[in-house]
Assembly symmetry: C2
C-alpha cells in the first residue's frame, strides 16, 4: 500500500510545478483556441522510474529477479525517452515500429520463462496435448506484443482523457488478474508479484495524470505517455508470464486496430488526425464515415455526443471488455 | 572492431537527417547570428543505447554480468532522458544534483565488487595495511562520483567542441587503461572487458558527434550529451572496478570545478554563462577576471586566442593530463 501512496504524493507535488514549466505548448484547435501543455506524459513516467528505482532497495530481489526488474525498467525508460524525443522532434512512422522493437530487446534477453504455449483445458482435451513448444517464435511474438502495446494505445486516442482512462482500466485489470492468480495458485506467485510491482506504481502515477488530462484537459500527454504505458504493460505481461492472456485485456484496442488497418496500410487515404466532426453550436461530436477507427464507429452507433460523454462510453466499454476477459480467462481458457 | 564501425555508420547516417529535423533551434549570439541545432546529444546517445542493447546478443554474458550491463544501460538511459528533458524544459539547479543521484542507484544496487580501498604499494608499506574496508561509505562515494562525472563535463564548456573533445580523450584514456590492465594481469580481466564494452561504442558515437560539433559548430550538444557522457564514464569506472583511478582521468575537470567553487556556492555572484569576452574585430577570445573557470584562467595565461586555438590548447592539456595520470597510476600508485 505504501507503494501506492508514495508515487501519488510525489506525483501531485511534482505535477503542479511541471505543467507551468513545460514549454512545449501545443495549439489546440478549439473555438476558444485554448493552449494546453503537451507531452506531460514525462511527469508520471519520470516519477514511475524514480519510484521503481528506489523501491529496488525494499523489494529484496535475487539476482535473476533483479536482472528482470532492471531490464524491464531499461525497456520502459528507453521507450519513454523515445516517446519524448518523438514529441519534440516528430519521428517518422517507420521509426515508431522499429524503436519499440529495439526497446523490447532487454526484456526478451532477460526473459527466463518457458516458451511453451499451454493449451486451455477444453482444447487440450480435444487435441490430447497440453503444451506446444514455440521457442524462438515465442520471443518473436513477445517483440510484436511490445510493438502492439505501445502503438495500439497511441492510435486509440483523439478525445480528452481517453488514452489515460483506458490505461488505468488495463492496469487495474492486470492487477485484478494477478490477485486472482495469487489466490488460486499456492506458491510460485513471484511472477505475479513482479507484475504487480510494475503495475501498482504505474496505476498510481497515471491516476495523477488522469486528474489533469480528463475533460476538459489541462494538459496533453503526448506520445511519451502512450509509449511509457504500452511498454509497462508489455513488461508486466511478459515477466508476469501471461503474455497471451494480456491480449484479452486489449480488446477495444484490437478492435480499433482492426478498424484502422485499411487506413494504416494505405488502402484508404489516411489523414493525420482521424477525429470526429465537432459542431461549434451544439458542442457535439459526430462520427465521420471516412475516419476508420473505434471512436468514429462508436459515435456513429450512439449518435452525436459531447466529448466527455463519448469518453465515458468508451471507458465503460473498456471496463465491460475487461470484466468479460477476466471471466473468459478463468472459465473457458482455464489452464490449471 | 565491428563494435567500432557499426555505431559510426549508423551515426553518420542518422545524423544528417536529424540535424535538419531537430526543431529545437538555439539562437547563437554570433555577429552572423547563425542558428545552430541544439541538444544533438540525443543522436549519439540513442545510437549508443541501440547498439549496446543489440550487442547483448553477441557478448554472451552470464546472469550477473547481464544484470550489471542492464543496470548500466538503465542508468545511462535514464540520465540521457533527464538531460534531454533538461534541454527541453530547463530544470532547476537542485534537480541537476538529485537526478544523477537517483540515476546512479541501479548502478549501485547491481554493484557486486569489493567495497575495499586497496592502498598503493608505497602507502601500504608505510602503514603496513593493504586494505581498508569502507562498506556503505564506498557506495556513497560512487554516487558522488556519478554526480561529479555528469556535472563536471557540463560546467567545463563554453566553446565549440570542448565537451565532446574532452569526452573523447577521457574515453580513449579509459580504453588505454583497460588495455594496459589486461596486459599486466593474467585472467580476471572480465571487468576490464566490461568497461571497454561501454567505452568503445561510446567513443565511436562521440566521434561522429565531434565531427559536427567541432569549430565551427554545426550543432550544439546540449545537456543531453554531457549527462550521457558523464554517466557512461561513471558506469565504466564503477563496473570496471576502478572508481578511484577514474578520478585521475578527470584532472582538468577537477581543476575547473575547484576554480568554479566560489561561484557555484554563491560567494561570488554567478552569471548564467561564464564565457570569455569575444572581440568582434579581431575574432579573439579574452579571459575574463570575474568568470572563475578553467577556460578563462587558460585564456588569461595564454593571452587572447581564437576559439578553435584555445579549444585545441585545452584538449592538448587534457591529453597531457591523461598521459600523466596513466603514468602515475602504473608507477607511483601501483597496487599489484
Amino acid at each position: 500500500m505504501t507503494l501506492n501512496f508514495i508515487p501519488m504524493n510525489l506525483n501531485a507535488g511534482l505535477k503542479g510545478a511541471d505543467i507551468n514549466k513545460c514549454e512545449d505548448i501545443h495549439n489546440l484547435k478549439d473555438p476558444n483556441r485554448k493552449e494546453v501543455a503537451e507531452a506531460l506524459g514525462i511527469v508520471p513516467a519520470t516519477v514511475f522510474l524514480i519510484v521503481s528505482i528506489i523501491f529496488q532497495i525494499f523489494l529484496q530481489l535475487d539476482h535473476e529477479q533483479q536482472l528482470q526488474y532492471n531490464a524491464s525498467l531499461l525497456s520502459i525508460c528507453f521507450m519513454t525517452f523515445l516517446g519524448f524525443t518523438d514529441d519534440v522532434v516528430e519521428l517518422r512512422w517507420r521509426y515508431k515500429l522499429i524503436l519499440p522493437l529495439i526497446a523490447s530487446f532487454p526484456l526478451l534477453f532477460a526473459y527466463e520463462g518457458s516458451t511453451n504455449l499451454i493449451l486451455p483445458n477444453f482444447l487440450s482435451k480435444i487435441f490430447n496435448i497440453k503444451l506446444i513448444e514455440l521457442g524462438i517464435i515465442y520471443k518473436f511474438y513477445m517483440s510484436l506484443l511490445a510493438i502492439f502495446c505501445t502503438n495500439s494505445i497511441n492510435i486509440y486516442a483523439g478525445i480528452n482523457g481517453l488514452e489515460v482512462g483506458q490505461s488505468l482500466i488495463i492496469s487495474l485489470t492486470i492487477i485484478l488478474y494477478n490477485l486472482i492468480e495469487i489466490i488460486l495458485r499456492d506458491g510460485n506467485v513471484e511472477e505475479n508479484l513482479f507484475s504487480m510491482s510494475i503495475m501498482i506504481p504505474f496505476f498510481a502515477c497515471s491516476l495523477g495524470l488522469f486528474i489533469h488530462n480528463k475533460y476538459p484537459s489541462k494538459c496533453f500527454i503526448g506520445d511519451t505517455y502512450c509509449y511509457f504505458a504500452g511498454m509497462s504493460f508489455a513488461c508486466s505481461g511478459i515477466h508476469g508470464h501471461f503474455s497471451k492472456t494480456i491480449l484479452l485485456f486489449f480488446i477495444p484496442q484490437i478492435l480499433n486496430f482492426v478498424f484502422s488497418i485499411p487506413q494504416l496500410i494505405g488502402i484508404i487515404p489516411c489523414p493525420r488526425h482521424r477525429l470526429p466532426k465537432y459542431d461549434h453550436k451544439t458542442r457535439l461530436l459526430t462520427g465521420q464515415k471516412e475516419h476508420w477507427n473505434l471512436l468514429n464507429v462508436a459515435l456513429r452507433i450512439t449518435g452525436p455526443m459531447r466529448e466527455q460523454d463519448i469518453c465515458n462510453v468508451l471507458i465503460g466499454f473498456q471496463i465491460f471488455c475487461s470484466a468479460f476477459a477476466i471471466l473468459v480467462r478463468f472459465t473457458l481458457l482455464r489452464v490449471i
